[in-house]
């Protein structure tokens, strides 16, 4: 069930990032709406707010999950687009390996940034 499982995960990650992205956009860019629901802060992009938020374990976990699902969803979709070629099986393997390396690098970089700024 290899490919079907990867595809199910692709669908699931798309479902999860829809809500995480919605939450991110509302929290970061529409503080007035969030304040209306008694949630969030007035100036979320202020330096003091960013550093304070980065120390929160909940935010770290949420952003790490967001990063994992977004990277998987994006790179699995990109792989499916790129392998729709007539370059052959070797090129297909090369594409998968290269995309995996880039995705892992971005994941490590993203996790490092998320945890580093929080101290």
């Amino acid at each position: 069930m290899k490919e079907t499982r990867l595809w199910i995960l692709h669908l699931f990650s798309g479902f999860v990032i829809f809500f995480l992205l919605l939450w991110h956009i509302l929290y970061m860019h529409y503080p007035v709406i969030m304040k209306g629901f008694n949630f969030g802060v007035s100036f979320p992009l202020m330096f003091s707010q960013v550093t304070a938020r980065a120390k929160s374990a909940g935010f770290k976990i949420a952003y790490t999950l967001f990063l994992v699902f977004a990277l998987y969803h994006g790179f699995y979709g990109l792989k499916n687009l790129l392998i729709e070629t007539k370059w052959g099986r070797k090129a297909e393997i090369l594409i998968v390996v290269l995309l995996s390396i880039i995705a892992i690098f971005l994941f490590i970089y993203g996790v490092f940034t998320t945890f580093k700024i929080g101290g």
Binding site: K2, E3, T4
Partner: protein
């Protein structure tokens, strides 16, 4: 009698560097099909023309080709109904050409063989040497009936964008047949079939363009079959796939009070 101009795709890989169209003008009368016209050309104008045909009645699927830009069976297409003074005939797209109007269907027939398009049973002895028929209700038959009308003409391949993108894609009719047998209540071989289906260039790469369903001359809906196949593959993957496999029908009574009341079977007509 009207005269109609035919522009026929010609290509002999052993002689020609690239394909070209050759024009023939032929007399056409009512009831004449495109296949009749091609046979007329071969018999009277150009014996070097190659095409594939057999039954001439839309059953064998041999004469699938592109007629005026649309995938059709040549034996099923009336010339006068096309309402065109010039008719362009090409081989099925997304397949390599053996010669003229003869496409090479072998890659898809190999893929078709790989998905095991036959009833697979756990009781192998009964499968190899059946003693009686299996029980199947009309509702169970309707689950797969339309997909069993596929004649493997390959016209669905010509309108499939995924088939045009890469050669490894299993293709609409192959996947539709995988569903046809997996949905059959007499079959218990979905897991065996899944080994050929659960790959990169398979169900998950179908773009659902539905060109295959539009192209099918028998009214089969391969795009729908692929969606159903995705559904049962996902259910299987998540552990929610359960299928009640049909049992063997009970043996008819050898002796009994009603046995003599049954009328005798009618005599064979052929």
């Amino acid at each position: 009698m009207r005269e109609i101009k035919f522009k026929v795709f010609r290509f002999d890989p052993q002689k020609d560097k690239k394909p070209y169209f050759k024009e023939y003008t032929i007399p056409v009368k009512e009831g004449m099909t495109v296949l009749d016209a091609l046979i007329y050309i071969k018999e009277n104008l150009d014996p070097t023309l190659s095409m594939r045909y057999s039954c001439r009645m839309g059953i064998c699927g041999s004469c699938g080709m592109i007629i005026n830009g649309k995938p059709e069976l040549a034996c099923h297409t009336q010339i006068l109904e096309l309402k065109s003074e010039t008719i362009e005939v090409e081989p099925t797209q997304n397949l390599s050409v053996i010669k003229d109007l003869v496409p090479d269907l072998r890659p898809f027939f190999t893929k078709h063989r790989n998905i095991k398009p036959y009833i697979i049973r756990d009781d192998r002895e009964e499968m190899e040497k059946p003693t009686r028929e299996y029980k199947q209700t009309p509702e169970e038959l309707l689950e797969f009936l339309q997909f069993s009308y596929c004649i493997k003409c390959g016209l669905c391949i010509s309108l499939c964008p995924t088939c045009s993108a890469y050669d490894d894609f299993l293709g609409p009719f192959v996947l539709a047949q995988a569903y046809r047998y997996s949905a059959d209540s007499r079959d218990s071989g979905f897991e065996e079939r899944l080994k050929a289906i659960d790959k990169t260039h398979s169900i998950t790469n179908c773009h659902f363009a539905t060109g295959c369903s539009a192209a099918c001359p028998k009214g089969v809906d391969p795009a729908l079959a692929i969606q159903f196949l995705k559904k049962i593959a996902v259910a299987k993957s998540l552990g929610g796939f359960k299928k009640k496999v049909a049992e063997i029908a009970p043996a008819p009574p050898e002796k009994g009070p009603n046995k003599d009341k049954y009328p005798p079977a009618p005599k064979p007509t052929v």
